[in-house]
Symmetry: C2
Subunit: 235 residues, 2 copies
């Protein structure tokens, strides 16, 4: 992109490629539906919060997710896509992920918000390295930490301090979240040609090389382990 | 208040009365907690929405309720009150109202959002006639329609058109909502002296006269009947 054009002009030029545009619509579609559901889930966590101040904090994070959703929907419209149609293919995998990982209580909800969203946003940040600057900016913006991390780490550590047995149950829960996330991600990769061709390459275009994909997976795993440790949990 | 002072100055003068201030803290406390829970409930309705576009619409309304909550919390702080403490007395009645009226499906959730919130906001609007202009403005602002009405009327009417048997079930549901709302309101009135003394008067101050309270109840009932009719339901 170092050709004298502004990032936005460069983005427009790059969008002339219909395969690339289809991959972007998939990327923003899955992100948009993910944000909408993240909103619902944080709001449901707020409903489980034992204290009014915690309710308010989680409700605030949920509304921030909704603002991200609006930004992504707007970008989809700018790309000439129908946002509902762009999100539709990702409804089933995302809904099933959440149906299979319903938090039984407030703490499981917090761990899910931190560990589950953490893997997701790490993945999208990795992807953002391969898109045009304007798209990258939006991806990094909607993947930013909304203050959940500090909040969740504080509450989970306090709960473990109060009752150390909690740690074992939450560690298992963290492992289940990763397993479910991976199985739904594989499904999306298998079903969404535009997105996966973009990553691994197609007939007339090289993708990210396999060694780099391996390193990406290693980075995702490392970050996950680090998040679990911050919570005081074995990964 | 027509004494040349601005509404805000007049409000400050009137706040010197500790009984009045306590009533305002109660009023904004109950409204704030109500908005926070309205946020959670609309978000839960969004999760039940059959279409992505409906999810997004309900999530948008929920975030508007959250903005109302923030405005009320700010006002409580301006009044020198601790917002969490101001909300605390209303947690049980509001939580119990919602625990006793859990919507079984998407349509019951919509009717509850329209009919339940309708009675609540009508009541607070009536109360707003008795407070200082700055407080009135805030009450009327947070009680404004966020577009729910048109949305809910459209969806419920369509559902009844598709299956007329739905109307009977939803009419019963509407009656249950009113019954539960009244029983929790009576409880709040019995427990919160500042708020009810403000309305019905205390030892050294006349309140709203009983005939006027009767007319207020008649107006609330009329509006409720009208809302049910708009939905195509018998009140």
């Amino acid at each position: 992109m170092i050709d004298g054009s502004t990032p936005f002009e460069a983005s427009h030029a790059v969008l002339a490629d219909p395969e690339y545009r289809a991959a972007l619509v998939d990327l923003f579609g899955v992100l948009a539906y993910g944000e909408l559901v993240a909103f619902e889930r944080l709001a449901a966590d707020a409903a489980m919060a034992p204290r009014v101040a915690d309710k308010a904090a989680l409700a605030g994070m949920a509304t921030a997710e909704y603002r991200h959703f609006l930004a992504l929907r707007e970008r989809l419209v700018e790309l000439g896509a129908d946002p509902d149609q762009a999100m539709e293919p990702f409804r089933r995998p995302i809904d099933e992920f959440h149906a299979h990982t319903k938090p039984a209580d407030w703490l499981e909800g917090l761990v899910k918000a931190y560990v589950g969203d953490g893997i997701g946003t790490d993945f999208y940040r990795e992807i953002s390295a391969y898109v045009d600057p304007a798209s990258r900016e939006l991806v990094l913006d909607v993947c930013g930490d909304l203050g959940q991390s500090a909040f969740v780490v504080d509450r989970v550590r306090a709960a473990i301090a109060a009752d150390p047995r909690v740690a074992g149950r939450l560690a298992l829960w963290g492992r289940r979240l990763v397993g479910e996330a991976l199985s739904q991600a594989q499904r999306v990769a298998a079903e969404r040609d535009a997105l996966s061709t973009f990553l691994v390459g197609g007939t007339d275009r090289p993708g990210v090389d396999l060694a780099e994909i391996g390193r990406m997976l290693a980075r995702l795993t490392d970050s996950h382990t680090q998040r679990m440790q911050e919570l005081g949990l074995a990964a």
